[in-house]
């Protein structure tokens, strides 16, 4: 029955998957769970009992600050103002400078496969508003695909915090900002004396310390037709794929993972890529890059950088790359 359902869905746009599908999450003993909404997703925290209030307050404040500065969907955000002033000089805040610097470093590190300057292309493809507000079906438009690479011409003067964004270039920090915010949240918790925590921003997650009486955090990874758990001891996990952010533009299936070489959404037979790294921002960039590169080159990319990954194909099959712990993956019934 399940396979028949899968077969029916192969030629259709993938069904939207809730970030927390019908899974019964277990809160580890001695820990407490908290949620809030930010950056267009659900932020989940696992914190030691007794430290939940302080931890939640610290992390919520951090995410609100980051969203206010970096959201492209808020017209009053600093990023929106920077994008509006493309073609001139702009003095940016420390936070925006930090994220821009990281994004440019990630772009260089992936030879431009990760590209923070594809906002114009995304908007032309229809993703010009928060995904929650995006209709599933959009009218057809003539889209002239433009390759990326505009990030190469961005000028940054760090001492003065001055950014020169060339005319026509627009920045989108959606994924990288979430990954960086998760890392920053863990750091802020440690500064507040909270040394055991899990922070999950819509699937981009990182852990620090271990819950009492256990040697790992049990993390579910969603496949197309199955869910597995892996025991994460330390580090971060992020997943990029088609399951959630996709829509139709006329007859065309669109999604948010654009190949900067073509300016078009990637269709390479992959459903999702999960990457494991030391920092959440690394996992986020690695998952996105591996997805865009496709199975073979993506796996080679992860291996080259000593990262681990799980590749799930659109037909539901899966393969691992790097040091992904296949032997301790447990499929949930």
């Amino acid at each position: 029955m399940a396979s028949a359902t899968t077969a029916q869905h192969r030629d259709r746009p993938p069904a939207a998957v809730s970030p927390d599908p019908e899974l019964d999450f277990i809160t580890p003993a001695g820990m407490s769970r908290a949620h809030f909404r930010a950056m267009g997703t659900t932020i989940t925290l696992l914190l030691p009992e007794g430290q939940q209030a302080a931890g939640l307050d610290a992390v919520r404040t951090l995410f609100e600050e980051w969203e206010q500065t970096l959201s492209r969907f808020r017209t009053d955000s600093e990023l929106s103002r920077l994008n509006q002033q493309a073609g001139g000089l702009f003095i940016v805040s420390e936070l925006l400078l930090r994220v821009l610097t990281e994004a440019l470093a990630a772009a260089r590190a992936t030879n431009g496969i990760y590209d923070p300057s594809l906002l114009k292309q995304l908007a032309q493809l229809g993703y010009d508003r928060s995904f929650d507000e995006l209709p599933v079906e959009l009218p057809a438009v003539t889209y002239r695909a433009q390759p990326g690479g505009a990030w190469r011409s961005i000028q940054v003067e760090r001492k003065m915090r001055c950014v020169a964004l060339p005319a026509g270039v627009q920045l989108d920090f959606g994924g990288i900002a979430k990954g960086m915010a998760v890392d920053a949240a863990l750091e802020r918790l440690q500064e507040r004396g909270i040394h055991t925590a899990l922070v999950n921003a819509g699937g981009d997650l990182a852990v620090h310390g271990l819950p009492p009486e256990t040697d790992h955090w049990s993390i579910a990874i969603q496949g197309k037709d199955a869910v597995w758990t892996i025991p994460l001891h330390h580090g971060a996990i992020a997943t990029s794929g088609l399951a959630r952010r996709h829509w139709r533009q006329g007859e065309e299936l669109r999604h948010h993972l654009l190949d900067p070489r073509t300016g078009l959404p990637v269709h390479n037979g992959l459903w999702s890529v999960t990457a494991v790294a030391a920092r959440c921002v690394q996992a986020e960039i690695a998952a996105k890059t591996a997805f865009i590169l496709g199975l073979e080159r993506g796996r080679a990319f992860l291996i080259d950088h000593q990262l681990a990954g799980l590749f799930i194909n659109t037909d539901g099959t899966w393969e691992t790359g790097g040091g992904f712990p296949e032997q301790v993956m447990r499929r949930l019934p």
Binding site: T44, R108, R152, A236
Partner: protein
């Protein structure tokens, strides 16, 4: 003029103008005193120039070779021994030269490798645009992105702080959270 101030004792330190010291050695002692540092303790004994000159003269005389000890002709080294010594010296020079050349080559190679690495790997913490650069630095100039040289990204994906790790056994309990597609 004679001062009538009975409290002014400084006058007794001033010698009469235009008069030579009466004592013959006084001039020499005065010179010796003036050559002392202002911060040095007063010398217990001062030597006259004549005494110093005598001492120097004695030393020089002691160093002069006596006519009796005129340079002696050392016996000539036998030819075989000289050749053997020359051979040993040649060997030593060759070995030292090779070792020095090897060391220099190693240092140059190490320097070139370090320079090449630091030029090609952007550092996440201190990216090359630390002052004022274009984001296109370190790029080949090719606008079409490719992944032909993933080694360039070494420092960005460095697994700091212990990297990542997994538990030894599969989890027997339900998941604490999930890494859903973002």
């Amino acid at each position: 003029m004679v001062s009538n101030n009975p409290y002014d004792e400084s006058l007794s330190w001033i010698p009469a103008q235009g008069k030579l010291p009466a004592e013959p050695g006084a001039y020499q002692r005065q010179i010796t005193f003036s050559q002392q540092s202002a911060y040095a303790p007063a010398p217990d004994v001062s030597f006259s120039r004549a005494q110093t000159a005598n001492a120097v003269q004695t030393k020089v005389e002691q160093k002069k070779p006596r006519p009796a000890q005129a340079p002696q002709q050392s016996p000539r080294m036998p030819k075989a021994e000289a050749q053997s010594l020359a051979k040993r010296l040649k060997k030593y020079i060759i070995v030292t030269s090779i070792a020095a050349f090897g060391l220099l080559s190693w240092l140059v190679a190490g320097h070139l490798q370090t320079a090449a690495t630091s030029q090609s790997t952007p550092n996440a913490a201190n990216p090359p645009d630390a002052t004022n650069t274009s984001a296109s630095d370190n790029q080949s100039g090719d606008d079409s992105p490719s992944i032909s040289n993933p080694a360039d990204s070494g420092s960005y994906f460095d697994q700091q702080g212990g990297g990542y790790g997994f538990g030894n056994n599969g989890s027997t309990q339900g998941p604490a959270t999930s890494s859903g597609v973002s």
